[in-house]
Symmetry: C2
Subunit: 336 residues, 2 copies
C-alpha cells in the first residue's frame, strides 16, 4: 500500500467535490494499492491540519474552515511549505491575468519536489512552461486534466491513449455556457439576450457572463493546450478571440437551413477562438452544455471526445484520475 500525503489548497466547489470523491472512493483506491491521506485543507480563512488525515466529513459540513474546523491560521503557502506532504491539490479560484494565488502555491510545491494536481487554469495560462520546467528540475509531476474540457479526458487521451501519434491539431467546444446559449438560440429561435437570461436563471451562466460568452475561458484553455500538447510558448494575448455576443437568430437559422450549426470553436495550434459553422453530422455537433474536442492525428485519424464541461464531482474526478495516474505510470508525458 502506497501512502500519498495530500495538502489541499482551496476549498470551494471543486475542493468540496474532491473531498467527497476521496471519501466515496477510498476502497477503490485501496484496491489500486493507493492510500490517499488528506493531511491538510486550507481556504482563505485558515487551515485544518491532521497528521493522520483530515476527516472529509468535518470539512464538508462547513462553508469556510473558520466555522470551527480550522486548527491553524496557516495560509496556503505556509501549509505547502511546512506540512509534510507528497502532493498538493491546488483548487483556489482562477485568475488568468496574474495567476495568483495559485501560481505561488504551485511554485512553492514544485520547488519542494511535491507533485501538483490542479483544476486552476490561471497559473498554467500565465506560466505553463516555467511550471513544467520547475517540475522537471525538482523531479515532481504537474497534472492539469481538469483545467481543459472538464470531464473530457483530453490531455491524458493525447498523452496516453494516442501515444505514438503526432497530434496535428485540436479543435472543439470548450465552454458549456456558450454551447447552451447557442443550442437554445438555434432550437427555440431565442434571441441572444433571452437565451443568456435563461442560462443565468438555470445557473449555467454567471451574473457577469463575459468570461464565458466573450470567449475568454475558451482562449485560456487554448493557451494551456498550445503550451502543453504542442510544446509552444504562447501567452493568452497570442490567441485571436471572438465571442458569441454578436450571433443572431437569423444567422443560426441560415446555417441550419444548409445543414450546419454555429458553435464557439477553439483551435490549436491555430490559436483561434471564434464562432464557426459545424456540419450537423460532425461529431462536434453536440448540444446543451456538452463540450467536445476533435483530435487530429497522423496515425489514428480524428478522434473526438465529448463530455460535461463542468461540475463539482466531475471536475474532482478528473483530479483523482490525475493522482492515480501519477502513481501508476512512468512519466512519459513531459515531452515538450
Amino acid at each position: 500500500m502506497k501512502e500519498i500525503r495530500i495538502s489541499q489548497v482551496g476549498c470551494g466547489i471543486v475542493g468540496h467535490g474532491f473531498l467527497e470523491v476521496v471519501r466515496r472512493k477510498r476502497d477503490m483506491l485501496r484496491d489500486l494499492g493507493l492510500d490517499l491521506k488528506i493531511v491538510s485543507v486550507t481556504d482563505h480563512t485558515g487551515t485544518i491540519y491532521e497528521k493522520n488525515g483530515v476527516d472529509p466529513k468535518k470539512v464538508l459540513g462547513v462553508k469556510t474552515l473558520a466555522e470551527g474546523v480550522a486548527n491553524s491560521d496557516m495560509k496556503g503557502l505556509e501549509a505547502i511549505e511546512e506540512i509534510e506532504s507528497d502532493l498538493v491539490v491546488e483548487v483556489t479560484p482562477t485568475n488568468i491575468d496574474h495567476g495568483q494565488p495559485g501560481l505561488g502555491h504551485m511554485e512553492m510545491a514544485l520547488t519542494q519536489g511535491k507533485n501538483v494536481v490542479t483544476s486552476n487554469k490561471g497559473p498554467l495560462v500565465v506560466a505553463f512552461n516555467r511550471l513544467k520546467d520547475l517540475a522537471g528540475e525538482n523531479g515532481a509531476r504537474l497534472k492539469y486534466e481538469a483545467t481543459v474540457g472538464g470531464t473530457m479526458p483530453l490531455i491524458s487521451l493525447v498523452e496516453r491513449n494516442l501515444v505514438g501519434n503526432n497530434i496535428l491539431g485540436i479543435k472543439g467546444i470548450f465552454n458549456g455556457t456558450c454551447n447552451y446559449i447557442l443550442t437554445r438560440m438555434m432550437e427555440e429561435g431565442y434571441p441572444y439576450g433571452y437565451a443568456l437570461m435563461e442560462a443565468q436563471e438555470l445557473g449555467i451562466a454567471e451574473a457577469d457572463p463575459a468570461y464565458d460568452v466573450e470567449g475568454i475561458d475558451t482562449a485560456a484553455k487554448m493557451t494551456i493546450l498550445a503550451n502543453s500538447v504542442f510544446g509552444m510558448n504562447v501567452k493568452y494575448d497570442d490567441i485571436d478571440v471572438t465571442g458569441i455576443t454578436d450571433i443572431t437568430t437569423e444567422s443560426l437559422a441560415l446555417a441550419r437551413d444548409r445543414g450546419y450549426l454555429i458553435k464557439l470553436i477553439g483551435e490549436v495550434p491555430a490559436l483561434t477562438v471564434k464562432p464557426m459553422l459545424v456540419p450537423r453530422r460532425s461529431p462536434l455537433a453536440v448540444g446543451g452544455t456538452l463540450n467536445a474536442a476533435s483530435i487530429e492525428t497522423d496515425l489514428s485519424g480524428t478522434i473526438t471526445v465529448t463530455g460535461l464541461g463542468a461540475g463539482s464531482i466531475e471536475t474532482a474526478s478528473a483530479i483523482l484520475s490525475d493522482i492515480v495516474n501519477i502513481y501508476t505510470t512512468r512519466n512519459i508525458d513531459d515531452r515538450s
Copy 2:
C-alpha cells in the same frame, strides 16, 4: 533504453500496418526509452527470423513471406515457443466460433509469460476470462484495444482516464459498415439493398456482408466489453442480436421527422445489439463510417468517444499504444 523483442504472428492488412507504424515511429519510441525490435514475423507460408531485428521494409515489399523473405518454415506456435521474445503481436484472421489459430497462439505466449497485444477478436470472444487468468498466473499482460471500436481508445479510456469511476454502462455504434449504410439510407433515401451495394463498391462492406450487417461483429465486441470492463462471464450466444437488414427507408424518414436517427447500437451490460432511435443532438448521432461509444460513469457523467472504426494504420496505432502502455504503466487494469 528498454529493448522489447517482438514476435509478430499474422501478416495481413493489420500486420503490414504494424510493421509500417513501427518503422515510422522508431525515433519517437526511442524518445520514450523503448527500443522495439521485431525479431520474427510469421504468416501462413512461413517465418522470417532475425535475431537483431527484421527489417520491416523487407516484409512490406511482399504479399506472403514465401516470396523469398521467409528463412524458416516455422508456424506461429513454433515461432512463439522457440524464438526468444518479450511480447507477441497476434494479428491473424479472426474466427469467433473457435478462436483459432489466434487462441492457441495467445495461450502459448501467455503460458510462457510473454505479453500479448492483439487486434484479433476471436480468441477474446471465445475465451476472454481464461486468457486473462492465464496472463495473471504467468505475470504477463494481455492488451486488446484494437479489438473494440477501432481507433477509438475505449478500453484504455475506461481503465486509465476514467479510473476512479464506476462504469455503469457502455452503448454505441461499433460497426462502421452498418453506420455507413444507415447514413446513406437516411440522407439519400436509398433502400437498404442499394446502400449496401454502394458500400460494397467502395470497399466499406465485404462481398459477404453478413458479419457486419447482421450485427455479429458488434455482438463479438459486446462480448469482449462485457467480460473485460464489467467482469462478466459472457459467451457470444448470451448477446441478443438484431441486425440492420430489415430497416426500411420509411422507418428512417419517420424517425428523422421526429428528430431521431436510427443506428445499430450495442449495449453492455444489457448485452443487446439492435437498431435504436438516437436523438439527432446526441453525441452518438455520428454519420458515415464513424464509430462512437458513450461511457456512463458514476462521477464523470457520460463521456463519448468517436473515431474511425477500422483501417490498417489506424488499427496498428492502437496496437502500438497498447505496447507503449505495457512498458510505461503499472498493471492496474486487471481488476476483473
